[in-house]
Symmetry: C2
Subunit: 158 residues, 2 copies
């Protein structure tokens, strides 16, 4: 089980876009330079965020990405769901119905599989924690020097 690195990139980019809100929209190329990431692939990772309404994109020259909402309104769950697709890590394939399960009576499978319930309970706790933290919280925790450095870096390159 491995989360896509796009989640890490996306969150870092949300922070930078918050810091450089007055310079928006910011092209992907600039964002990529800030973290030395492959620009094309970073763009591919940010596209789902735009589609999910977390980022707003502007085409054409002088275009780029900006935050579509206030940092307080963007939860980590939003970002993870947008990039990972919002599917459960654990996927019940109803193994219980196969093999010996084919001999079961009809009503037995009315209740969901206990293993699935247990795993989903754990994932719910995970989601609850993700939904309880916002990009604004990350901004508060980040060192102020990083924000200033990112700003100078982007302006220097420009």
């Amino acid at each position: 089980m491995r989360m896509s690195e796009g989640v890490e990139w996306g969150l870092h980019c949300c922070l930078v876009l918050s810091w450089l809100d007055d310079l928006a929209p910011l092209p992907v190329g600039r964002l990529a330079e800030v973290f030395e990431l492959p620009p094309q692939y970073l763009k591919k990772q940010l596209q789902p965020l735009a589609k999910a309404g977390i980022l707003a994109s502007e085409p054409g020259a002088r275009g780029g990405y900006r935050l579509a909402r206030e940092p307080e309104a963007i939860t980590l769950m939003d970002v993870v769901a947008a990039i990972e697709g919002g599917v459960d890590p654990f996927r019940c394939t109803e193994v219980r119905r196969r093999g010996a399960g084919t001999l079961a009576e009809a009503g037995e499978f009315a209740h969901p599989c206990g293993i699935s319930v247990a795993m989903r309970k754990a994932e719910l706790a995970w989601r609850r924690e993700l939904a309880g933290q916002t990009v604004a919280d990350l901004l508060a925790a980040a060192p102020p020097a990083a924000a200033q450095r990112a700003r100078r870096f982007v302006q220097r390159v420009a």
Copy 2:
């Protein structure tokens, strides 16, 4: 992000091995028949559980797998960690140090990355829930008919 189906299979097999404890050790072939799973691949998935001390394996004829501990002593976290390798789904690649981060002062990275901390907090909640549930809990929640059916099925095939 997708959890290996080996987790689902492993947990179901733990249940069956609990139900059929007096028939142990049970070969993988029998377990595979109970759920119509590819026997060789199921074996591959159960091997990490044996290595982790959750299952005990016996080689040779009349060999097979049995539970190495009481169901009360096997948590879902144990099974997930054994099969998934115990690594964090989110992996911080220290992106903050690259690009603009190379200009930072030395002490700034003494504190861990805030994004990493946030993600780890969520994963901790997930792990806590997994560690709080045992195979014994799954046994209690499973329909009694399933246990009897599995027993009859295995004995019939034999």
